[in-house]
């Protein structure tokens, strides 16, 4: 077990290296000149050149990458061009809000998705099934920003049940709408996966054995059925965490949520390259960690899975 975790962490190193390389190249090529973005087009060329030299932007790309990596290896993510603060400090400040949002969205996705999926599987081929699957399709196909605004309109503006936006110092009411918005897509996927996984499992002979024992249908489905059907759902949730991170910038922007996503959006707008790089790297790290956790949970859920290096 420990060997497995260590080897998986080792495998993460080249992945993270690749992430830095690609992000570095893309941001430097595609985002354009950060100094121009800061100073405007009519700035004094001398000043521009001085600032560029100060930030090391006058050096060739490979040289800058080497410098960046050299610092990264000792844990230095550099300084934000905009704020002049260490990127690591900014990230650390923003991470809790995003983590809260992502976890809440995942809870929403799992609870709504699995409930809908179970109901659809149990009422297979009925109107209820059709309704659940239509709802899940809506969840999957509705754009995050649009859903967010509609939820604000309905629940915040018209009904006044929840605040319109903002973090609210971590108050629960502020979390509800963003979590629903961000979780809807995953809930849709999870509902469909739960339904098909459960339908597959309920055909198995051990389910008949469980019924032959005289167990209640609820126990048959939730214990014998779901426990076996949960592996593909877990996999999906692991991958889904990646989608949550992708969705976070949009959701956070709609709800003025002070998280990493909004930080990233703002940083891209400001051509704040160290922050863009740092946030991307952190997203990649979270994604890898989530997948590792899913694989570890696999072994807990299914005794037939043996973790080998």
């Amino acid at each position: 077990m420990r060997g497995y975790v260590l080897s998986r962490c080792g495998q993460a190193v080249p992945v993270l290296f690749g992430v830095t390389l690609i992000t570095f190249l893309l941001t430097h090529v595609a985002l354009g000149d950060p100094v121009r973005a800061m100073m405007g087009q009519r700035a004094d060329p001398e000043v521009v050149a001085r600032i560029r030299a100060e930030y090391g932007l006058d050096k060739p790309l490979w040289h800058r990458y080497a410098l960046y990596m050299g610092k990264l290896l000792v844990g230095d993510l550099g300084y934000s061009y905009r704020q002049g603060r260490p990127v690591s400090a900014t990230l650390a400040e923003r991470l809790p809000a995003t983590a809260r949002l992502a976890v809440a969205a995942m809870v929403v996705a799992l609870v709504l998705g699995m409930t809908a999926g179970i109901v659809a599987a149990v009422r297979h081929n009925t109107g209820v099934d059709l309704l659940m699957m239509t709802l899940s399709l809506l969840g999957i196909s509705t754009p995050v920003f649009w859903l967010g605004m509609m939820l604000i309109l309905l629940f915040a503006v018209s009904l006044g049940w929840f605040p319109i936006s903002g973090y609210g110092d971590g108050a629960f009411g502020h979390l509800v709408l963003p979590a629903l918005t961000l979780g809807a897509l995953q809930a849709g996927y999870i509902a469909r996966m739960t339904r098909s996984a459960l339908l597959e499992v309920l055909r198995q002979e051990y389910v008949r054995t469980a019924r032959a024992k005289g167990l209640k249908e609820r126990v048959v489905i939730l214990k014998h059925g779901l426990r076996n059907g949960i592996l593909p759902i877990l996999t999906l949730a692991g991958i889904g965490l990646g989608d949550l991170l992708v969705g976070a910038p949009l959701t956070e922007t709609v709800f003025a949520w002070p998280g990493l996503g909004r930080l990233l959006v703002a940083a891209v707008g400001n051509r704040d390259l160290p922050v863009v790089l740092g946030a991307t790297l952190l997203f990649a790290l979270i994604f890898l960690a989530a997948n590792l956790i899913v694989d570890l949970v696999y072994a807990l859920v299914d005794p037939r899975v043996r973790l080998t290096e």
Partner: protein
């Protein structure tokens, strides 16, 4: 004939409503089991043996299957009229079932101890600890070596024979009065088969329970059954005591089954096996008369227009054939 029975199935009809039409998997089956006796239920695959068994426990998958007619009397109560909740209290308690494939019939993600204990806990409302202890006791009873340790193992860690012993333990945990064993040895090695049959018959005597033994293996029937019901195309075609059946089979189908058994006779080492010609009929498209007529070596003109009734040809020996 049906007096003093523990279980009486009368004119049971279980049909499957499929896209291609109605499959009459069980069509008018009547049989009975007395307390403590072993009833052999014999026939080729697809003749309705398993569906009959599942109907008794009301476990026929619905849809597409449905019990459309008949009565199933167990201990004076018609199981088909019981509310689902009462039916559940009978399943796994008064009537249990063992399935053919011990690999796929056990849940892969729970320990075998848990799978045995679960039923005990559910039916008798005892504590987890006590249910577990009793489960270990039952595992010991089905002669699983070192049961206290084995109870913590998962199905994939056990051999086929041990898995089937776990299935048996699960079925017998609450001392059922009727055990339905559906091809309990088919998936096992020959040497293990004999052990499992021996275990079953031993436990049956000990626990005084009735057994419906479903099999296509006439050898197993000869060793264990008191009475035998032969099924063909969803119907009973012959019923007799085991002795009568093996000595003087009346229905040509039963005769065919017996002749297709390999025999060891001195001096006749290379005798070819006799097979019943043709295939089991398509249940969607059965002949109007005797269902076996198309494959029957003794078929006559009268076999075709109407289906013969199940008649008592000799005391206790019934056959569905005009020639019997």
């Amino acid at each position: 004939m049906r007096n003093g029975s523990l279980l009486t199935v009368q004119d049971l009809r279980t049909h499957f409503f499929t896209g291609e039409g109605v499959v009459r998997a069980v069509d008018g089956v009547t049989l009975s089991v007395r307390p403590g006796e072993t009833l052999g239920l014999v026939g080729e695959s697809g003749c309705g043996k398993t569906v009959t068994a599942l109907s008794i426990l009301r476990l026929v998958p619905d849809p597409p299957g449905r019990i459309v007619g008949g009565t199933i009397c167990f201990d004076g109560r018609d199981l088909l009229r019981l509310p689902e909740e009462e039916m559940r209290s009978i399943r796994g308690c008064a009537i249990s079932m063992i399935f053919q494939e011990p690999m796929t019939s056990l849940n892969p993600v729970f320990t075998v101890g848990e799978q045995v204990a679960e039923g005990i806990r559910h039916h008798q409302k005892v504590s987890r600890r006590e249910a577990w202890d009793r489960a270990v006791e039952v595992l010991r009873r089905v002669k699983i070596p070192d049961p206290a340790r084995r109870a913590y193992e998962y199905p994939h860690q056990l051999s086929g024979g041990l898995r089937q012993r776990v299935m048996i333990a699960m079925a017998l945990a609450l001392g059922p009065r009727l055990l339905i064993a559906d091809e309990p040895t088919t998936a096992l090695d020959v040497t293990i088969q004999a052990q499992i049959i021996e275990l079953l018959t031993g436990l049956q005597e000990e626990m005084q329970m009735a057994v419906i033994l479903i099999t296509h293996d006439l050898g197993v029937i000869a060793e264990t059954a008191d009475r035998v019901v032969v099924m063909y195309a969803g119907r009973v075609v012959e019923e007799a005591s085991a002795e009568q059946l093996f000595e003087t089979p009346l229905h040509p189908y039963t005769q065919g089954l017996l002749e297709s058994l390999p025999k060891l006779e001195a001096g006749k080492r290379h005798r070819r096996l006799t097979a019943i010609p043709g295939l089991i009929p398509n249940l969607l498209d059965l002949p109007t008369g005797c269902k076996f007529a198309p494959r029957c070596p003794k078929v006559v003109g009268d076999c075709w227009p109407t289906e013969p009734d199940l008649r008592e040809v000799r005391p206790g020996h019934w056959a569905r054939c005009i020639l019997a």
